[in-house]
Each structure stands twice: as C-alpha cells, then as structure tokens.
Symmetry: C2
Subunit: 480 residues, 2 copies
C-alpha cells in the first residue's frame, strides 16, 4: 500500500488461459473489477466496470428494438403460483428453479421469466386488431434458484436480462418477429461483441418450456463448451390459449393472438471475457468497451505540468470525436504499473505521452490485442485512433472466427463423434430427428444438440446415433 | 369497437379533479396508459407510456451523477438476515416491511433498500485512501411489503428507484456529497418535472433508519398531503462501524469511512400526474414528456395523400431539431377522437394540419396546458414549437408554485395549526425540537413535520405545541 511499487506483487493475472481456463476466468473477472462473488449462495455483484459493459450492450440493443417500434415496460417481480401453472409445459420447465415468497394471500414465485404475468396483462389490454402488434420489452432482474456450481456471469441465481414479449394477429407475423429479433441478436453479438455464432433452431427437447419454435445462437468457448448467447421463441398460441388473449379481427371474428418471447442476459459479458481474454487479462472489443482509449502520461518531475496539459488536450480532442477516453493522472502509481493495470482491464488502445513525444509532436500507440507499438503524429491522432480501434474490432472477430472454425469438425461415425467431444470440439453430424438418439448421445458423451443451423452446406447423411436416414445436419457439443 | 366513433362513450376522464382527487388520479393513470393494477396484492404494472417518463427521468439524472464521477453497479436482490441486523436502527426501521425467501442456508430479505449488502462489499473493496471517494449508484427494483392501501406509483409493494451509496474519507466530504445530490434532485424536479419543493432537513423522528442527517424535498399535492420527492442522507459512520469499512489514510492511520445514501423513485411519476393533471387528463411537462408534439392530420378522402406527406415532412423537421414527435396516422379514428386521446395523454403541444393549412403554408398549434390555439407558418414551425414548449414548461412550474404558495400558511397558535391542517394546508410554524411536541401534533392532527427548511425568512418564535422558546421554523402537513 505504500509508494509506487507497493501493489506490484499482487498485480496482474497469474494463471494461464490454456492451462486452467476456469480459474483464469475467475481471476480475470475479479482482478479486472467486472464482478465479485456475493455473500449469498449462487449470487454475484456486478461492479461498475462490468456494469458499464452491460450499459453499452443495453444501449445498442435498446436502440435497435425501439427503431422497430418496441417499447419498454415494467411488470411485477412476483408471479402468483396459479399463473405459472396455466401453461403446463412452462410450469414443469421452471418450477424446480423457482424461489418462493409466502404471503397471507398465497404463494408468489420470484420471476424466473415473465411470460405468465405479462400475458395475464395482455389478456386485459388486447381487445381488437387495432391493439396489435403489441411489442413490449423489459430490462430487469430474474431469479433461477439453481443448485449447480456458480460461475460468475455464466450461472448465477440472479441475473439481469431483457425479455421481449410480443403478440401478433397471425402466425406468420409472429414467425417474422422471432426471426427479426434473432437477426438483431446476431448483429449485436457479431458486430459489437466480435463473437461469431451458429444460428438456427433448437431440437424439440432443447426448446423453451412452452414454445413452438426456439431459435438460438451458439458460440464456442475456449474450454470446448458451447454457450447459448440468446434465444428467440415463437410461442404459437400456447400461452394465448392458456391465458385467453383474444382479439376481434377485421373480419369480425374473435381469435387468439400468436406470440413471441426473446432474451439476452448478462451472460454475454462472460462470453466476452472467455472469447477475447488472454494471459494478461481482459481484451475488450472497442464497440462495447467502457473505456476505448487510455492515456498514460510519462511523467518526470520537471515536465509534469506540460505533459499533463498536453494529455488533457488530447483527451478532449478524442472525446469530441465521440471516443470514450480515460486519462490516468494518478501520481501514486508508476507508468509501468498503469500499463499492466489497463492491459488487465482490456482497454483496446493505450496512448503514452511523455516530454520527448511532446517535443516531437507525437504519441505512442499500443494495441491491446497485439501489443504492437506505433508512433503517431498528434495532428493525425483522431483519425489514427479510430482506425486502430476499427482494426482491433475486426481482428478480434476474425480471431474468434478462426477459433470456431478450427474447433469445429465433422463426424461421420459415432466413434468420431465421441472422440471429437472428448477433444472439446463443436461437432457437425447428421441426425434423424428422433429424441431417443439425442438422449443416447447426451447420456454417453454429455454433449447435446446445440443447434440445427439455418444455413448448412453439408447434406444430411445417416444419423450419427442410429444409422437411419437423417433429417438434419446439427451441431453438438458440451455446453454451459 | 366498430367504426370511427365506437369508443367514444368510454373515452375521456369522467371524474373532476377537485371533486374526488383520489378517483380522478386512478382514472387518469389507467386511461392514459401509465400503469395498471397487477394481479398481486399491492403491486402495479408500469405500462410503456409511464415507463417512458421513467426512462426520461433516468436519462437526466444518470447524466447528472455520471458527470460528477458516479458509476452504476448492480448488487444482489437478496440480503442475508444477519446483514440487516448489523445496524440496529436500520433493522428496526425496515424489518416490519420485509418480504423473506427461505433458502436451505438461511433466510434472505428481498431488498427494501441496499445499504447493508452494498456496505458489506465496501468493507472488502475499500482498503486505502486511494479507493476513496467510492461513488456508486444502482437503478433497480425494491420491495417493501406494506399493508396500507395501494396507490399507483405512490405506494406499492414493489417500486423502481435509484439508490446512490458513497464512501468518503471525511465527514465534510460526505456532507458535501449529500448536499450536492439534494441540489441535483431539486434541479431535476423543479426544472424538468416543473414541481416546486421545500428543501431542508428531516427531524430526528422522521430520519432514515440509520442516518445521521436526512435531507428531503417536499412538495404539496392537490389533496393537501405532502409528498417526499426524494431524500439524501448523511450516514456518518453508523454503517461503516457496523460493517467494518476502514481505510488506511495518508497519515498512516486506519479510519472508518463517512457515508451517504440517496434515492428517488417512480413515485415522481405520481407527483407529475397529481400536480399538473386537469379534468381532461394528464398534462406532461415538455422536458420529461415521452411525446412532446403530436401531429394530427385533418384528413378528407381526396387530400389524404398530400396531407399525410406534408405531416411526415413536418415530423421529420421537428425530429431533426431534437423534439420527440408522434404522427397519428391511424385512419380508424376521427380527428376529434384523436384530439381527446392525446389531451388525455397530456402531450404538451398538438399540431393540426389539414388541406387548407397546407394551401396557406401553416399549421394550427394547440397548447395542452391552456388549450390556446394559434396559427403558425410552416417555415417558422421549429422555432415556434420550441418556444411554445418552453412556455408550457415555465407555465406549469409557475402554476405549481402558485398552488404551493397559496396553500402554505403560517400558524401562530395550536388552534390555527389544527384548523389549517383540516383545511389541507402546508403549515409554517415554530418548533422547540422536542420529539414529544412532534408526537402530540401527529396524534392530534395526523400532520407531521415534513421539513426543517434550509432557507426560511421567518424567525422561530414560540413552539406551536408547548409554547416554549422554539429552535426552528418547520413545515407541517399530512403526508403520503
């Protein structure tokens, strides 16, 4: 705690990503200040740096859905037990994970998801075709009282998410909505989070409890497990029939609405850490980084004032051009300590400015992803910073794509499937659509069908499990 | 449901504000689509139009605190029972209203406020003077299982709020923080919500459970009850001693931090409805209105296309200048029906554009607050719209100020106090600072000391209750 080097011994990441991914993951999240374990079993605290990433994700996605006419609302945290019971599949799917509150008037579930409480409201609010489509979303906390091991961002009893809930006059409109939202998710995750995904449908077994179709985007984590990055469901009329959500159509007939629901969660932050991080810590994609550029002044006592003045000027210039910039003026830490700190925190671009740089009207650029150093003239700073951030964004995506491609293999036989799963691969294989084959694979390899892709070059051959004629090419792996 | 006039019989507000304020309040909120009663005792659903007001409040206040270095975070919904017990006053203040969840490992409170769970984290995160000040905030839901009558936005078991929690090296810094935040609240509420408040300190009895000083802003509702619009507390070292939040100061000594907490809630929306609404429904201050300008096209069959084209052009122009504009293109409703609808929803400014207006290159302006109509040249539209909105904003504040002034009286005797409270006034009176006098007044008049103002022209005379020499001039009234 004393002097400029006091913290050095505990600074930095001590575990290698490819030696112990799980411990590395925790160390990065804790040391970079993204989150902390909470003193409640299975819960976490999202610290400001982690929450700022979530705010950036929220801002982007909120803008996307509002542009398409969706509006935000807020529904109660508590759901009467009787509501959960109305859609039987939904009830069976969620009830094991529900936390209950006992009130004088009955038992309330703390929302694990809000279909039932929202659709009860829809049954009051929707009367006529004029009320459709109803396009609502809420950003909130949800609770699933899971008993499995806690994993920061990936698996916690409480997490933050958005849940969209729409009602439409026709099946086609609901289908189009589900697909449009999935498209927005893919856009967000690929273009802002720099994570490639395989998009498609879930098998019947893996569908959301109560859905007619579940679409998903799956990405592959460095430990060989797939992560479901978000889902968009076509609920058909399952809930509208259970909750009596009817409208008088233009043709004078009373009909049940067709519905969708869809969500992404704070788990996305876990994916960013996992996919892009390295042995020095976090590496954040510029488009969602809370700090895109950090300026570290190289200070010698006699030039301190001039150096800081120049750094502040640079900060202002870059901020005016729309970048998010931090100037690290703290004088109780050395420049070297600061370099390590900001690298651990994954800031995409570091600028170093010292007296000699000022004399030469230049700054030193250091890229977080490659560690590459460049000298840039101060007059070209803005242009070059933007260019560098764009390059970093693209490079992170292309690295992640390469990882996904390199770790995806085709299996023609059951033995090949088993061996590939053991080797932590994402496996492409043919499947007959029979749940028994799916179950056999799960029992024997711990892998599940993650996604039936929308676009797939390979044609289905024979089912990897039973050898009969297959209906789909699917992707299988172990999963979070 | 059929044709252009089908909904007319149920449209509009049927109750007069000054005849039955409480019923009028509910009718306005329900019919304007701000909120709905939820199927859970004491809970509400915030509908999109109400939530959009909250989003506007959030955006403004979030910007204000971030400008001063505060950051958002997210702490767990659940609080271990043992944490609540650590600060005894706090525990006694909140425990009657807590909803509990039983887990295998113990009992968890659903947060009624988050001091205890946040300060447990602070005791881990704060080590050195370098970690101070710690300036965090969270936007979240809280639950207070009250048994009193539910009132939409004003009193519900679950509500949304922000809670700021800061830790400082000195008492003075914490005091300054409390006062700075109170100043931001007053700025927000006066200048954006157009509601005047009396700012000052709470008496010891009315203080937040665990605080050293509680500052408040009180406004007066049309039913003569005061509404606490937000509070900012100096917590002193009460919690830092209970939770062991210590730091190593520059002088090498270990010290307990000095803390503040502060919050505003969705109850502010209830205040906006109450203060500005009239017999036609809502009246929204332009600065927080989700829709600032509504354009209603006056359509005749032969000119429909041209009229809509012109309206769209106007919408685009106004949006480009930063205004939030709705063009009501629905053709299943008459223009008259739309006028009533948007008046009920409190949109500050209505533009009517029909074929004759287009010929004359003009539009009709109608102000929601005064109902005054004006004809404005299309070329001056932007300038005039902004001017009209500014005038509406100012007029709403001056109306509300007049209401507060007209309904605030000075009482010199106990009889005058009793009579003024009966007449639903805010009463200015002298008080000796004795809790017994405060209690007597509460028991006999149902009024409480709402605020000990920071700025008060009158000098304290004799205590209104006991006749002894008074220490303060205070404001008293019944309250929500």
């Amino acid at each position: 705690m004393s002097g400029k080097t006091g913290k050095k011994e505990t600074q930095g990441i001590t575990i290698k990503k490819d030696e112990d991914f799980s411990e590395w993951y925790n160390e990065v999240i804790l040391k970079a200040g993204l989150a902390d374990f909470a003193p409640i079993g299975g819960c976490m605290t999202i610290r400001p740096y982690g929450y700022a990433i979530w705010e950036n994700i929220q801002k982007k996605f909120d803008g996307m859905i509002k542009d398409k006419g969706h509006k935000n609302a807020y529904f109660p945290l508590f759901i009467p037990e009787s509501f959960l019971q109305k859609e039987s599949e939904h009830f069976e799917g969620f009830v094991p994970e529900v936390a209950w509150v006992e009130a004088d008037e009955g038992k309330y579930a703390i929302r694990p998801t809000s279909e039932t409480i929202i659709y009860d409201a829809y049954s009051k609010w929707i009367r006529s075709w004029r009320d459709l489509p109803m396009l609502l979303n809420q950003w909130c906390n949800v609770v699933r009282w899971e008993t499995k091991v806690t994993k920061l961002f990936m698996r916690t009893r409480e997490f933050l998410w958005q849940e969209g809930h729409t009602a439409h006059a026709t099946d086609k409109e609901a289908h189009d909505e589900m697909m449009m939202i999935l498209g927005m998710y893919v856009d967000l995750i690929k273009n802002s989070l720099a994570i490639p995904v395989i998009e498609g449908e879930k098998s019947a077994t893996e569908r959301f409890a109560g859905a007619k179709i579940t679409t998903t985007m799956e990405s592959l984590m460095p430990d060989g497990k797939a992560l479901q990055m978000g889902t968009s469901h076509h609920l058909g009329q399952h809930f509208s029939k259970a909750f009596g959500i009817k409208f008088l159509d233009k043709d004078g007939k009373e009909k049940h609405v067709h519905q969708t629901s869809w969500g992404i969660t704070t788990r996305l932050i876990g994916a960013i850490v996992s996919v892009h991080g390295d042995d020095k810590g976090l590496v954040l994609p510029p488009k969602i980084a809370p700090i895109q550029v950090v300026i570290v002044p190289i200070i010698f006592d006699k030039n301190k004032k001039e150096t800081l003045a120049e750094c502040r000027k640079v900060k202002e210039t870059l901020e005016k051009s729309g970048l998010s910039v931090e100037l690290d003026e703290r004088d109780s830490y050395s420049a070297g300590w600061k370099f390590n700190e900001w690298e651990m925190k994954g800031v995409p671009l570091r600028l170093e400015i010292g007296p000699r740089d000022i004399d030469n009207k230049q700054a030193v650029f250091v890229r977080r992803d490659t560690g590459k150093k460049d000298t840039v003239k101060l007059k070209d700073l803005e242009k070059n910073a933007k260019k560098a951030l764009e390059e970093i964004q693209n490079k992170l995506l292309s690295n992640a794509k390469k990882h996904l491609t390199d770790n995806t293999v085709s299996a023609k036989t059951y033995e090949e499937l088993k061996s590939a799963i053991e080797k932590k691969k994402m496996v492409r294989a043919s499947w007959c659509e029979n749940a028994a084959c799916e179950e056999k694979i799960k029992d024997e390899t711990a892998a599940t069908i993650r996604v039936i892709p929308f676009k797939e070059k390979e044609k289905p051959g024979k089912c990897i499990a039973c050898g009969k004629k297959a209906k789909h090419v699917v992707y299988l792996s172990r999963a979070y």
